[in-house]
């Protein structure tokens, strides 16, 4: 929290720390929500740029998480609009990992990745923010657009769709 306060006040070291901790999560969010890895990296950098240029406008440091992910979602929605193409997935192995690790990781997450692929980018993004980033419904709703109730309903529908897709894949095995 102090780091956010300092970054808002113009402390570039504090800002750099925030960006460093946010970057891998952003890449994961974008890559997990649909865009190819290279696009995910672009989107992450773009989101960080927007954070840098507007952090001084963040009024309440406590609202940072919601504010931050709102920016990420703007970027993501912009991407969906620009590309207007169904999302595809790439294998998600660490660049430094050996081939066995790569295969292992790839196998390990095939089911969830395939299940995610069956959902819309919006559903994936919603599940990610709620279950991975653990944002509240209020934070996900943000200042624009959706009420808490709407987000809650959308989330539960998305979750049901994921569970169904996941279950169907399990039966196929």
């Amino acid at each position: 929290m102090q780091a956010i306060e300092r970054a808002r006040a113009g402390d570039s070291e504090a800002l750099a720390d925030i960006l460093r901790s946010a970057h891998p999560r952003l890449v994961a969010y974008f890559a997990g929500s649909g865009p190819q890895r290279a696009d995910a990296e672009d989107l992450a950098a773009h989101t960080l740029e927007a954070v840098v240029t507007s952090i001084h406008k963040l009024k309440n440091p406590l609202a940072f998480e919601g504010w931050f992910w709102q920016i990420a979602r703007y970027s993501f929605r912009g991407w969906i609009r620009r590309t207007r193409r169904p999302a595809r997935f790439e294998p998600s192995y660490a660049p430094g990992a050996g081939p066995e690790d790569a295969i292992h990781l790839s196998d390990e997450h095939t089911q969830i990745r395939t299940a995610l692929e069956m959902l819309s980018p919006k559903d994936r993004s919603l599940l990610w923010l709620r279950d991975v980033e653990e944002l509240s419904y209020e934070e996900i709703g943000g200042r624009v657009g959706s009420t808490v109730g709407t987000v809650r309903v959308a989330y539960h529908r998305a979750r049901k769709r994921l569970e169904e897709a996941y279950g169907a894949l399990e039966q196929d095995d």
Partner: protein, 236 residues
């Protein structure tokens, strides 16, 4: 060995997060913190697609060929591209003008052409404000007016010398992107008859804030360009 999808999702997320190396993060953060910022994402893919459509248009419309002569600095396709957009928009099959202007603004900012980038950002706002007028509610109109006002203020804030502060250009680029994004969300909300008035208000507020900042920038610019108007006469 059945796991819950939510646990699996979390594990998958962790593997993706771990796949980002520290070196990569450091490089990105260093790049982001180093000005100038303002854009990315080349439009190369789009140019090809646009080219195909243009060819069709050109064969059907000689007037368009004349319009394509009107090229701005940069790509040869630039003028053709714009002419295509205008026609597409005129016949109501496209709403790409905002996006294209925004992309140009990004590209120009990347090239370091600050005043042209600001002009393109202003054009993007102008385009998005026109696109908002359709739904016709008061809150939309108000937001559209504020955006149009913001668009004008940006152009006023371009100094005669053309040397805008990079921070100001970055700021305007980010805000413009946000406003365009919000406007798109607002229109989506209108389609689903959601409660759009909050969104319209947010958009309105943002546009007004942008106007204010552009006005301040203009005031700063004129102080610099006309030092004799200020009380400090000691400067050369």
């Amino acid at each position: 060995m059945s796991t819950s999808p939510m646990d699996d999702l979390k594990a998958y997320a962790a593997s993706l997060t771990d796949s980002v190396s520290m070196a990569e993060t450091d490089a990105v953060v260093a790049g982001v913190l180093r000005a100038p910022r303002g854009g990315r994402q080349p439009v190369k893919q789009r140019v090809t697609a646009v080219g195909v459509v243009i060819a069709t248009f050109l064969s059907a419309n000689v007037g368009l060929a004349a319009a394509s002569q009107n090229a701005a600095p940069g790509d040869a396709l630039y003028g053709v591209d714009r002419a295509y957009e205008r026609i597409a928009e005129f016949v109501g099959i496209s709403d790409s003008r905002t996006e294209e202007r925004l992309q140009e603004a990004n590209d120009l900012a990347n090239r370091g052409d600050a005043s042209a980038a600001l002009a393109a950002a202003s054009a993007a706002l102008e385009a998005v404000s026109s696109s908002l007028e359709d739904p016709g509610s008061d809150s939309y109109r108000e937001a559209a007016n504020s955006i149009r006002q913001a668009s004008e203020e940006i152009t006023h804030a371009i100094p005669a010398s053309g040397n805008s502060r990079p921070e100001f250009v970055n700021d305007m680029m980010t805000e413009t992107r946000m406003i365009v994004e919000l406007a798109h969300q607002l229109r989506d909300a209108a389609k689903t008859a959601g409660n759009a008035s909050d969104a319209a208000k947010e958009l309105n507020d943002r546009a007004k804030e942008l106007s204010e900042r552009a006005k301040n920038e203009k005031a700063n610019n004129s102080d610099k360009e006309n030092p004799k108007d200020s009380k400090d006469n000691s400067r050369p």
